[in-house]
C-alpha cells in the first residue's frame, strides 16, 4: 500500500450493479467500462461489498463473468461480515485465483436478505457477533500471506472508542487504514497519523456534490466551506493537508469528474 502512495495511485471506488437492477445488461457494461478505465489509468479499482446493505453482485464474480483483467496490485475488494461461510471462502478463493491481494475488511451494513457470519463460522470464541476483527483473524489464519488487509477508520465516531477498535484491528493483522470521507481536514484523522506514523493511511474524498448524503451516511451533519460543495476543489485541499496519505475517491463521477483528477495529485 505504501507503493500506491509513493506512486500517487488513486483508489477509485466502483459499485457493482444492484441485485434488483432492471437494466442489468446496461449496468454490467457500465461497470466493465469503469473498471477498464481505472486499470488503464494505473489507479486501483476498489469494489464494494453490498454497500449500505443494498444487495449487489460481488466484485470477484463481476470480474470473472465479464472476463475483466485486473492488473497486479491494482484491485481492492471490500469484504464485510454479511456472508455465509461458503460465500466468504468462495470470495477469498476467487481473489487468490485472480491474484487480488488487497482486501478492505469491514463489519459492513446488513439487511433482511443478507446472511451474517457467526462466530463459529470464523472460529471466534468469547464473542457474540463477528466484526471486522474476527474476520481479519480468520483470513490471517486460514489464508496466511495471501492478502494485504486494510481496515476502516471512522473519525465521526467517539474518538476513544474508535482508537480502541483500531488497536484491535491492527493486532488482528490489518496493515493499512482507509478513513471515512473527510472534507478538507479532520482533527481525529490528524491524531490517527500521529499515533500510527508507520501505517499507510488512505484518506477518503467525497466526490459527490450531494453533501447531505455524506451527513446521512456518517450520522452527523457535515458542513462545508463552499456552497454548493465543490468536490474537485476540496480534493485538492485534501492533498495539501494529507501529503503523506493516499486518497480514496468515493462516488466519483466517471463522466463529469474522471478527466479532471489526473492532474490533481502532483
Amino acid at each position: 500500500m505504501r507503493q500506491h502512495i509513493e506512486n500517487k495511485t488513486y483508489h477509485v471506488e466502483i459499485l457493482p450493479p444492484k441485485q434488483d437492477s432492471e437494466k442489468l445488461d446496461a449496468d454490467l457494461e457500465a461497470f466493465g467500462v469503469k473498471f477498464n478505465r481505472v486499470m488503464e489509468s494505473g489507479y486501483c479499482a476498489c469494489l464494494t461489498d453490498n454497500a449500505m446493505g443494498n444487495l449487489a453482485f460481488q466484485g470477484t464474480e463481476m470480474i470473472e463473468e465479464l472476463g475483466l483483467e485486473p492488473k497486479k496490485d491494482l484491485v481492492m475488494i471490500h469484504l464485510n461480515t454479511f456472508h455465509t461461510k461458503d460465500d466468504l471462502d468462495r470470495i477469498l478463493n476467487s481473489c487468490r485465483i485472480l491474484k487480488i491481494r488487497q482486501l478492505l475488511v469491514i463489519s459492513g451494513d446488513g439487511s433482511d436478505r443478507l446472511p451474517k457470519l457467526s462466530p463459529a463460522d470464523v472460529g471466534a470464541h468469547n464473542t457474540e457477533a463477528v466484526t471486522s476483527v474476527e474476520l481479519l483473524q480468520y483470513i490471517v489464519r486460514e489464508y496466511p500471506g495471501d492478502f494485504e488487509l486494510g481496515v476502516a477508520f471512522n473519525p465521526y465516531e467517539p474518538e476513544e472508542h474508535e482508537f480502541a477498535k483500531m488497536e484491535r484491528k491492527l493486532a488482528a493483522g490489518a496493515t493499512f487504514i482507509i478513513t471515512q470521507p473527510v472534507i478538507e481536514r479532520h482533527e481525529v484523522v490528524d491524531k490517527l497519523l500521529v499515533k500510527y506514523p508507520k501505517i499507510p493511511v488512505i484518506v477518503e474524498a467525497w466526490m459527490s456534490k450531494k453533501i447531505d448524503l455524506l451527513s446521512e451516511a456518517v450520522g452527523y451533519e457535515i458542513k462545508t466551506a463552499t456552497d454548493p460543495f465543490d468536490p474537485i476543489a476540496t480534493l485538492k485541499i485534501l492533498h495539501q493537508n494529507y501529503k503523506s496519505c493516499g486518497i480514496y475517491l468515493s462516488l466519483l463521477g466517471f463522466k463529469t469528474q474522471y478527466d479532471f483528477i489526473k492532474d490533481t495529485w502532483k
Binding site: 441485485q19 442489468l24 453482485f57 460481488q58 463481476m62 436478505r113 443478507l114 446472511p115
Partner: protein, 262 residues
Amino acid sequence: MKIVVCVKQVPGSNDAKIDPETKRIVREGIKAVTNPFDTYAVEEAVRIKEKIGGEVVVLTMGPPRADIVLREGISVGADKAVLLSDRAFGGSDTWATSYALAKAIEKIGSVDLVICGKQAIDGDTAQVGPGIAAQLDWPQATYVMAVPEVKPGLIQVKRMHEDGWDLCEVKLPAVLTVVKDINQPRIPTLKGRLAAQKIEIPTWTAADIGAEPELIGLNGSPTRVVKTNPPPAREKASLKLDGTPAETAGKLVHELRVRGLV
C-alpha cells in the same frame, strides 16, 4: 426427486391500495417482488435437490410480467419454470387458484413434492398450499421449519407450533408449506441472474392444463370479499431518555423490552 415450488408475485411496497369496487389489490404501477415466504420454499427445494439429486420447477399464476419471480427462482438454482397466465384465471380466490396450480402440477407430471411459502404477504390467507394438497388429494405438512431427512417415498419434517415442534413423516407425493426458520435463502449469483435472463419460460393457459372453465376465475371461486377496512392507524409516540450514555442505554433496553420489541 421432482419438486415443484409455487411462488407468487406480491406488491413490494406498503403503499398497495384496495380497489373499492372489486375489493382486490391494485397491482398496476406497484413494483412487484417474490413473496418473501416463497424464497424460503425455493431455497429448501434447491437444497433437497443438491443433497439427493433431482429437478426443481418453479410455478406461478399471474400476468405475463409475473415471469420475474420465476426468473428469480431460476437465478438461485431452480431448473425450470412454468407461468400460468390466462384471463380466464382472473378473479380466482384461493380455492380456484389451488385448483389451477394443482392442474399445472399434474401436467408437469411425476412430481414427488410441492413446496409453498406458508402464506403470501398480500392476502395473508395461508390457504393455497393446503388447497393444492386438497385438490391433488395428497398429504400435507404445514409450517415446516426443517426437513431433516428425505427417504424414498417418505419425507421427514419438523412442524413449528406455539409450544415447539413436531417431527412428522409424510408419504410422498406431498405438499409442504414452510416458515422463515427453515433456512437462509441464498443471494443470486451473477451467473445465476444471467442464466435466468436467458431461459425460455413456457406460458400455459387454462386450456393447456385442462382446467374446467367453471372451476377457475370468479366462476370457480366460492368466496367473495364483500367489505374491506384498513387497519387502525398506528399510534406514533416519542420518548426522551435522560442520563449518562450507560443509563440511557439501560432505559432504552427496558422500554424496548416492555413493548415486546426485543
